[in-house]
């Protein structure tokens, strides 16, 4: 393992290794000149502009829809209603959930009932953006409001209004995860810390570019062409295919530059399906550019999770034995990608810690709110936040130093590869060292002194918090079987296509859909090393494009996996291409392969630079001069090499809910120092540090950028960003005016450091990273906890705006319920 500081210049391991260097990005040239091709920059000939008609009610019967006035407007091509859309579909969208949840029906547009504010009931196509919106306002919709449920726990109660009659319940999934022996642990612990409720709030990363698509249902060929900024088009194709009655090979997806996604652009297939039907009806392409308020209301939110009746058995020396909790995941009105959140969290069952006994009773409920879908740190960060909260609360209640308590309970460097209670394997890492580095980067010693000097009575308090988190990457989709054993999913993979073109150009095509993760650059670095040339000489095409033929069922950019799956595929494809080049060169130069070497776009006999053939010569022989080659070689070598990287996974044990669910585990340890104003509850961040360990870094600057970004989003979520609904199901933050996205004034400078613990399980020692595990939410809550006194309530919410902090600061004075109690051995029955 090597220890480096991000401020140090990248060192070259060998003279010509591009991997590991912070080279500038291939993407930047076009992006800094405004030459990126984002979704609203694209179009198709003859396109109309779409505008969705959306429900103002959170729950209502659709009594009638009358599009006549809209259709009468000049420039309006078509109006498609929910009922018409249903008529054009074969079946509702495929559901992942088994049982009751599997009977939840969703169609491209709402039919009969709307279930959240903004649910789309119709869509208009017109000759301009303006006309489309003008006409949409003329679509007359009569609603009959129904009772609303916006609380994910209450939604599970028997008297709650039911959203989906066919399911008959709002419980979309329920299951108990039981690992180790929690009953034994609770019985034998010296202390049991009991926490009433922890609430992980609803927010999203709100990519700056909203969703969008141009969709054409070609009347002649039946091909449905979709230009979009979807980040996992194959998932959309899989869900939409049966519904629209379109075979996979009649979908033609493509994407270019994507203006941020963070998981939020996985699941807008209902909109794309509606646009496809609209195009089919109108006989022309439909272009839709989501506007921000529409995005906030209807695109996607992150999972909101409530943990109840948490019990933490702890030994006198601070050894945490496990955790027991009930979890309610509020996933909004429809199941998009859900209930996968009910299992994805179990990639990190014990978080960074060694405890073995975990029982989580998990319930997924639907509510009259915007449907959720993956959001950076998807499902794991909610669980990791709960674990970090309990570690801090245990420290606070039992008088342990939060740093020492963590170090004592962390998985230790010598424990790797470490098997978790549910069979996941943590590949490598050094958590105690990461924590020490993070504390040092944040100058914690200085702040501890400052905290003592500050004392009491100044109106200010200083708090120091830690967020320890794992960023699990490269999913084993077999975990889907844990929520539904009938699902035919397992494993993972990614494809890449490496090609030497006619004039000697090297091209890599990827099936990924990057949104800032620098795939063009890092893929070129890896390819350049194998071909011994400069990344500048390698062209990389990204974007899921059927024309590139370089995708597999799991292609896309999500779940922290590109460095493993994407680059694993690139390495395999480029190695195949290299071998073909060497074979042709061997014939051309009449020299054995093991005497050849590649360099700067040519192949030469080692030690005889004059005996060389440039790549253009190789390409010439294969493409346009192949009679020169022996027929055996000419008919075998194509210079078009595809490779699919498949990680080594098995199908999980669905009965025990165990298995290796994820290939790699990056870690991120964050430290946050805050100053809190006692009178107002206003929190100011004084120092912030983050130490990342993602194994071998392909491009350290890119990794550091991901660390910064994850930190920025998490800090903003912890203090500023929240989606809240009133009791009528009206979203209180439907635009950036109310939803305060963190600005450069709000996000502090972030000091980042890194260590590299290479993964033994990946082709290149790299681990996926980028999501960041929500560490800032843990660290900020931890820092706020640190300013609170013994009699104050605990930090029980992941979102802490000033009023909530103010309430906490004065909760002890008022004698508010603290939300926590400790039962200790020997004082059975007496609350301590």
């Amino acid at each position: 393992m090597s220890v480096t500081s991000s401020s140090q210049a990248a060192t070259r391991e060998r003279v010509r290794s591009w991997t590991g260097q912070s080279i500038t990005r291939k993407e930047d040239g076009r992006l800094v000149q405004g030459q990126g091709s984002f979704i609203d920059d694209m179009g198709m000939h003859g396109q109309g502009y779409a505008w969705f008609v959306r429900s103002p009610h959170a729950h209502a019967r659709i009594v009638s829809i009358d599009p006549a006035s809209a259709l009468a407007m000049e420039g309006v091509y078509a109006v498609l209603t929910g009922a018409e859309a249903r008529e054009m579909c074969q079946v509702p969208f495929f559901q992942i959930a088994p049982g009751d949840g599997g009977r939840i029906e969703e169609w491209p547009l709402a039919v009969d009932t709307v279930r959240y504010q903004g649910d789309a009931v119709a869509v208009v196509l017109a000759d301009s953006r303006d006309t489309a919106r003008d006409a949409a306002e003329l679509v007359e919709v009569e609603y009959d409001p129904l009772p609303v449920v916006v609380d994910g726990v209450k939604a599970a109660e028997p008297d709650a209004p039911v959203l989906h009659e066919k399911a008959g319940t709002n419980v979309a999934w329920h299951g108990t995860y039981d690992f180790g022996d929690i009953d034994w642990a609770l019985k034998n612990a010296d202390h049991v810390v009991k926490i009433d409720r922890l609430h992980f709030h609803r927010f999203s990363s709100t990519p700056l570019e909203c969703n969008g698509a141009v969709v054409d249902w070609d009347r002649g060929t039946g091909v449905v062409e979709v230009k979009s900024n979807l980040q996992m088009p194959m998932f959309a194709a899989m869900v939409m295919g049966p519904t629209l009655g379109v075979p996979i090979n009649k979908f033609s997806f493509s994407s270019r530059d994507i203006g941020g996604a963070f998981g939020n652009k996985i699941s807008f297939y209902p909109q794309i399906a509606a646009l496809a039907l609209l195009s089919k009806k109108a006989g022309r392409p439909a272009k839709w550019t989501e506007y921000r308020t529409e995005h906030m209301l209807t695109s996607t939110h992150g999972n909101e999770r409530t943990f109840l009746d948490i019990e933490v058995p702890v030994m006198a020396d601070g050894t945490i034995l496990g955790v027991k909790a009930r979890a309610y995941d509020d996933v909004g009105a429809y199941l998009h990608y859900e209930p996968l959140g009910a299992v994805i969290w179990s990639q990190v069952v014990p978080g960074c810690y060694k405890f073995k006994n975990v029982q989580v009773d998990f319930t997924t409920t639907v509510t009259n709110k915007c449907p959720v879908s993956p959001n950076r740190g998807y499902s794991r960060m909610q669980h990791l936040w709960m674990l970090e909260r309990i570690v801090d609360i245990v420290a606070h209640e039992l008088g342990f130093d939060p740093v020492e308590l963590r170090k004592a309970n962390y998985v230790q460097p010598e424990d790797y590869p470490y098997q978790t209670p549910n069979g996941c394997v943590y590949d490598s890492g050094n958590l105690p060292l990461s924590l020490d580095m993070a504390l040092e980067l944040a100058d914690v010693e200085v702040w501890r002194r400052r905290k003592l000097e500050l004392g009491t009575g100044t109106g200010k308090r200083i708090g120091i918090g830690i967020g320890s988190t794992l960023d699990s990457g490269t999913n084993n989709f077999g975990q889907a079987r844990i929520v539904n054993p009938d699902l035919p999913f397992s494993g993972n993979g990614e494809a890449a296509f490496a090609k030497l073109d006619l004039y000697g150009e090297v091209n890599i095509n990827l099936g990924t859909t990057p949104q800032g993760q620098s795939h063009e650059t890092t893929a070129a670095q890896v390819a350049a090393d194998i071909l011994n040339m400069s990344p500048d000489q390698v062209t990389v095409t990204t974007g899921f494009d059927q024309a590139h033929n370089s995708f597999v069922g799991f292609s896309g950019t999500y779940a922290s996996q590109f460095a493993v799956t994407g680059l694993g595929a690139v390495m395999g494809a480029v190695e195949k291409l290299r071998d073909e080049i060497l074979e042709v060169a061997s014939f051309a130069l009449q020299a054995p392969i093991d005497e050849l070497e590649l360099g700067d776009g040519a192949c030469a006999v080692r030690g005889e630079p004059a005996r060389a053939i440039p790549f253009i010569g190789i390409a010439n022989l294969v493409y346009t001069n192949n009679a020169v080659l022996p027929i055996e070689l000419a008919s075998r070598v194509t210079l078009n090499c595809r490779h699919v990287y498949v990680p080594p996974f098995q199908v999980p044990d669905t009965e025990h809910k165990t298995g290796n669910l994820t290939l790699t585990y990056s870690s991120q340890i964050h430290v946050c120092v805050v100053e809190v104003d006692e009178e107002t509850g206003v929190v100011e961040i004084l120092a912030y540090s983050a130490v990342d360990d993602c194994g071998k870094r392909i491009n350290p600057q890119v990794v550091e950028g991901q660390v910064h970004g994850a930190a920025g989003l998490g800090i903003a979520a912890a203090l500023y960003e929240s989606f809240e609904y009133d009791e009528d199901g009206q979203l209180q933050e439907p635009s950036f005016y109310e939803y305060h996205a963190g600005t450069a004034r709000d996000i502090p400078g972030i000091r980042s450091g890194s260590i590299e613990s290479p993964s033994p399980f990946t082709p290149n020692g790299a681990k996926g990273m980028g999501e960041g595990g929500g560490a800032p939410l843990h660290a900020v809550c931890s820092a706020i906890q640190d300013v609170l006194g013994k009699n104050d309530a605990i930090v029980a919410d992941s979102h802490n705006p000033w009023e909530r902090v103010h309430l906490l600061l004065h909760s002890g004075e008022r004698g508010d319920p603290r939300g926590v109690r400790v039962v200790s051995r020997g004082t059975e029955g007496a609350w301590v």
Partner: protein
Amino acid sequence: MIRQGTTHTIQVTVNGQVYNRVVEARQLLVHFLRDTLDLTGTHIGCDTGSCGACSVIFNGQLVKSCMLLAPQADGAEIETVEGLARSGELDPLQQSFSAHHGLQCGYCTPGMLMTATYLLRQNPTPTEEEIRQGIKGNICRCTGYVNIVRSISAVAEAHRATAVGTTEGRDQQ
């Protein structure tokens, strides 16, 4: 006086090029730039004037082009991201953003560059705090602003070095 009406003929100079167009009064300047002039480098990220992705320099002033109507631009000189590079050569800010990884998805970048351009014109050597204050109206969801601030600081630092160099040069004479 510009006459009263729902459509207007306007003349706008963008990046030095003069355009005459008939526009609807209701068209936002950002849609005029993107849809009418096909200058799609200027982006849209919100509908409340909150995100700054559409920032352009309008008669020397940094503005959000979603907060002006196209007819308000009649007679105006506008600078957009497309005008920053000259003869294929990236300007110092563009180079610095690339060198310091000041962009990831690149969607906020055009607006951010215009804001940084304006900021450095007003104050060639801003402190980190002044930079953060200056770009407060531009939301970035990818970078946590860390490398954006670094990118702008590096250009400011170069200005500082040049200013010092010039002063030293004079002192020596």
